[in-house]
Symmetry: C2
Subunit: 184 residues, 2 copies
């Protein structure tokens, strides 16, 4: 028995897990790992929250503070990778993206949609990553100026299913998501 | 109330989650995301299995096939990052490492300890990542020649706890793991 033997159905399954991550705050797809490359060519990885996903435009959306390490890094090198492991599906999803950092008036509407109690995430003082003497020696000063939307344009999706058999496939925007099987 | 206000206790807590990952196959710490930087300076991330952890030597151990993308990448750039998100602890652990790829006779003893049924992971033909026409068009030919141990020497550990308050700290080998608080 093989669970996935059709490239299109396999990709549909991957997208259903991505969409579930947006819709369901309990889903593991909600909290992908965003990997980037620092100025010093070191890999960096951190958990982010997936806010939107649009298969038609191939764009995933993440919200962050403008003064975080990830924004500084992405200004230098916009290439990033989003990684999900969905335990109950035994599915790994690896998504290669190019990130556009949106700030200011173009995202005013998105800022207005952020619930008041969530806004504290955008605008710590001193900025995120600063050295402090005590663990709580910082203030939260929410402001739209500190709010950034990371628009992640997908170039490639790779799926690995660890089922009874292992199956793996890669899909690229450049070949209109046709996909090819790979050795796991 | 603040859950962590002592740097040493916070690091001890992080290590207990790392050690739990080795001991308990159900623990999320068992399956960190390994991020690397490709030859083309693109970030890559994939799930790996944490096999050993030694706080005294600051070494974490991962097993892989010698012909995987991650080994090719690490031969060029041995810098990597291991990322864990422990949901029930609300703890993110980010570990910066330098990876030494061990193969051949020096790891003979480790190979002998790998259970027979687990050995199929080391030695697919064609090699992992090859394009194939059908999803199962590969064989598993376990062999010690395909087995590699990634010895990950820790240079830095960063912890982020999303509790009632958020606390974050970074610890470096170069300052003997003394640690400093950071703005989350």
């Amino acid at each position: 028995m093989i669970e996935f033997n059709n490239l299109t159905q396999f990709l549909d399954h991957g997208w259903s897990c991505i969409n579930r991550g947006v819709a369901d705050t309990k889903s593991p797809g909600r909290y992908p790992t965003l990997a980037t490359v620092s100025k010093d060519l070191l890999p960096e990885a951190r958990t982010v929250v997936l806010r939107k996903a649009d298969r038609n435009t191939s764009i995933l959306e993440i919200h962050t503070d403008t003064r975080t390490e990830k924004v500084n890094t992405l200004r230098q090198n916009p290439n990033a990778s989003l990684h999900m492991w969905i335990p109950n599906r035994r599915l790994q999803i690896r998504i290669s993206v190019i990130v556009k950092i949106q700030t200011g008036s173009t995202i005013k509407k998105r800022w207005e949609e952020v619930p008041q109690k969530s806004r504290v995430s955008y605008g710590t003082l001193p900025p995120s990553g600063s050295v402090i003497k005590e663990p709580l020696a910082y203030d939260q000063m929410p402001s739209m100026e500190s709010f950034a939307v990371l628009e992640c344009k997908i170039g490639k999706i790779e799926l690995l299913h660890l089922g009874r058999n292992h199956t793996r496939a890669v899909y690229q925007a450049s070949s209109d998501w046709a996909g090819t099987w790979l050795v796991p």
